[in-house]
Symmetry: C2
Subunit: 199 residues, 2 copies
DNA sequence: GTTCAGATGTTGACATTGCTCACATTGAAG
DNA sequence: CTTCAATGTGAGCAATGTCAACATCTGAAC
């Protein structure tokens, strides 16, 4: 499933990428707890100390994973807006957003866990901002009179909704049957927060 | 600051409570990473194995802390609604909600971290639901035509906004100067999501 | 009041983890 | 071909979560 063949030579060739890939798999399977440096090294078929040539810290490794996550995330959200009428783009993106969270719950959680130190890692920060910007732009178009507030509200809404769904805080609603609710809610949000004087 | 005097007798007397208290302090000071079983035992002045008489797991201990957090949280939100006109209660509670998150960021994060297993621990589940219900009721009153959706949207909004603020994802806005923004946004949300036919 | 059974605490140990240091191996630039 | 920086190895340290065997206390029954 990956491009990483162990290949018994001394130098791995592309350890850094292999590590991030494996870390991602490890995370998706077993959550944050399962994501350890040593286990990671084992997976890639390399000694326990090797990863430290590429990442100062466990935290640095995690930041890289999160950044990769944001890239995936951005891709998904952008894809959702392609070929959609402008005034329906926000709704589509919001839906894609929540669906991403539901499909990769542990990754999503990691991305926003932020014992993570988003501020310190430049790459991570950039990736996160890019994702934010993508949705913010679409949301801002909805309410040209107060674009900033519209963007924040929109982001807060989708993020909060995702979290609620992941925590199964919504009685009777789980990842499996969330789709109709998500659609209804995002549409409702777009309506209420959309252009205030539609007539 | 606590009721826990070490007191050199063999039996502590109220270890369980002391542990949760100390864990809370530890969490507030140093975050999740600083919250370890052994360090905790050290703080309370007890052997490393003693906590296991009261908590099966580290996770169980953490769940107890989270439950305590939800109690605190509920208290804060309820306090905010006391003595406020009914149609302004939601705004007041929403503001209190976000302020709680800003005052206790690490605790708030823990409460919603949910590698936490909210489903399994009954006490925790109850505490979380109670907090949810409190805000949900106020939000539902805002839009009697679709109370369920109003509640979800409201919760998602405040939760999402809190997370964004904690992650400093909002450029130029941090815990220190967040208050006016929070007030403006919650009011805006109440307006847009409030009774659709105010005339 | 003595006794005895839980409940509660202690000691010491095991496996595992993050991380570091001294050393080994390699590929590429001169 | 030599050399050097980049990359990987192995052993080891301190710390952690957890457990089992043992110690001590407390409260209820006699």
């Amino acid at each position: 499933m990956s491009t990483s063949e162990p290949s018994d030579r001394y130098h791995h060739g592309d350890l850094r990428r292999a590590l991030v890939e494996a870390a991602l798999e490890l995370l998706l399977e077993g959550g944050t707890e399962a994501l350890g440096m040593r286990e990671l090294a084992r997976r890639v078929g390399v000694s326990s100390a090797a990863p430290y040539r590429h990442f100062r810290d466990k935290q640095a490794l995690i930041q890289a994973v999160a950044a990769a996550g944001f890239a995936l995330f951005l891709e998904a959200v952008e894809a959702a807006k392609a070929g959609v009428a402008v005034d329906e783009q926000f709704g589509a993106m919001a839906e894609a957003y929540v669906q991403f969270a539901l499909r990769y719950p542990r990754l999503y959680k990691l991305m926003f866990s932020s014992e993570l130190g988003k501020f310190e890692d430049k790459d991570l920060r950039r990736a996160a901002d890019a994702a934010y910007a993508s949705l913010a732009v679409a949301a801002a178009k909805q309410d040209p009179e107060a674009p900033g507030e519209a963007a924040i509200s929109a982001w807060a809404f989708v993020h909060g909704l995702s979290m609620l769904l992941l925590d199964e805080q919504l009685l009777g609603v789980s990842a499996a049957n969330a789709e109709p609710l998500v659609r209804k809610l995002t549409r409702r949000h777009a309506q209420r927060f959309g252009k205030p004087h539609p007539g």
